[in-house]
């Protein structure tokens, strides 16, 4: 089956496992995802942006369950099934949004430990599987 990323350049399956691809300021340590060309921290002495990979472990800060079929530009496979998404605080200091990978929506709680995974988000008409990053409770 053909697969492709939902948006190119946001994540990669590295030898160490899945990672989000962003950047970090070497001067003030501020994390950016997606990548930023410059540091936006007004207290930063000097903008020194370097590529950075984020993940895989973190904690769910909060979550929400999408209970109705959302309008475009959200895409999903028919028939619509409610799904969870959340705000995750990664151990390396990035606060990031992501789908939660679970079949048991009722089991989800804020502060749960989670890990980064790369999984299908939806399928295109020709069957191509579109991949995004998600967080799986551990």
């Amino acid at each position: 089956m053909e697969t492709k990323p939902v948006i190119a350049g946001l994540f990669a399956d590295t030898p160490q496992g899945p990672r989000l691809l962003g950047s970090r300021c070497a001067s003030c340590a501020a994390p950016y995802f997606p990548k930023s060309a410059v540091c936006h921290n007004p207290k930063c002495g000097e903008s020194k942006i370097q590529d950075a990979a984020f993940g895989p472990r973190g904690r769910l800060w909060s979550l929400a369950i999408q209970s109705y079929a959302p309008p475009p530009p959200v895409k999903f496979d028919e028939p619509f099934k409610p799904y969870a998404m959340g705000v995750v605080d990664l151990d390396d200091g990035l606060r990031v949004l992501g789908r939660i990978s679970t079949d048991d929506l009722r089991s989800l709680r804020p502060d749960m430990p989670v890990e980064l995974v790369l999984e299908p988000l939806y399928h295109e008409a020709d069957g191509t599987e579109v991949i995004t990053w998600k967080f799986r409770p551990v």
Partner: protein, 392 residues
Amino acid sequence: MRDVAVIGLGMHPWGKFADKSVNDLCRVAVEAALKDAGVSWREIEAVSAASSRFSGGKGWGLNGNDVVEEMGSTGIPVYNLSAGCAAGGNAFNIGYTLVASGLYDLVLVVGGEKMPKGFIQTSGLEETTDPEFLRQRCVGMPGPAFWASLCWRRMKDYGTTEEQLAKVAVKAHQVGKHNENARFRQEFTLEQVLKSNVVSYPLRLYEICPVSDGAAAVILCSAEQAKKRTSKPVWVAASAVATASFDDGITRGLGGLGPSGPTLHSEAKLAVEKALKGAGVGQKDVDLVELQDNTVYYELAFPEEWGFCKPGEAEHLMETGETMPTGKLPINPSGGFLCFGEATTAQGLFQVCEMGWQLRGEAGARQVPNARVGLAQTLGLGGNATAVVLKR
């Protein structure tokens, strides 16, 4: 800077008006404000208009120019202000500045809009530099889910229950039913709110404001003009605008700084703090608050973030009736966005109109007894916020 008075208040009721243009809505609001002020259109020296991407403005956000053409092309300067859902508050700030600076004596501030159907959406372009597009395509998180995630965290931190969330909506409609300009004027029982469709758990349909059509206008003037024209001026004690700070805890795009403190919606907090300081009043001096309740969450979270009550105390104040017009911290005596719905450019000005009527003692069944000082706040896409303090 000179003292600035609000002498004219006008509104077109909120609702859905398929057979009216945005110009029709604005004309009703502007004519009402002019009449209330006893000012003729030809006397208006400048217009500060909230600019919309949804309707009017010749497709370019030139909403103020549409209003001037509609009312009569007198050649006056027009300022079109864009700040997402904070645009009305932003236009008020510029209108205030134009009078306070001494540049003009009589200024019209106006916002009017017809909103597209459904919850507010992205631009429609598949633009990968747009954080809103990325959030929706990669994560599947529309606006209500974003609010729901904040709400769920509040439930974790303070034990807020689904019933308490629903009670905020019940309270909004108990007040809003008295407002002839509100779109939804029926009361809801707790059961009705809890039985309304779950949009994004834990938030239900009646706990989220819909989009509406509406318009509001105010006339601002110098103290000298106010003396001539009215016996009951309402004064602008402060008008403030702010944007989000770098250490804000909310993820506005896909990712950002980890938690560096409890600061959420720093733009709103900064604008409110600036306005209170500018007005020289403390939270205890404020008799009513009109805040942007896109969802019930904000009516609980904002008063705490702004120091009006202790963290986790908002539910208790709401449940004991203290946030009703007759309580010690009246919040949204207008009925708020839950009863009006969002007409993004007009809402900062409906808040000013409501405060004006409250401070003049003209708010009827939703009147806050002996209201002397009011605070209103808006919040818009892009990290925009405004706050205004009016006093009698």
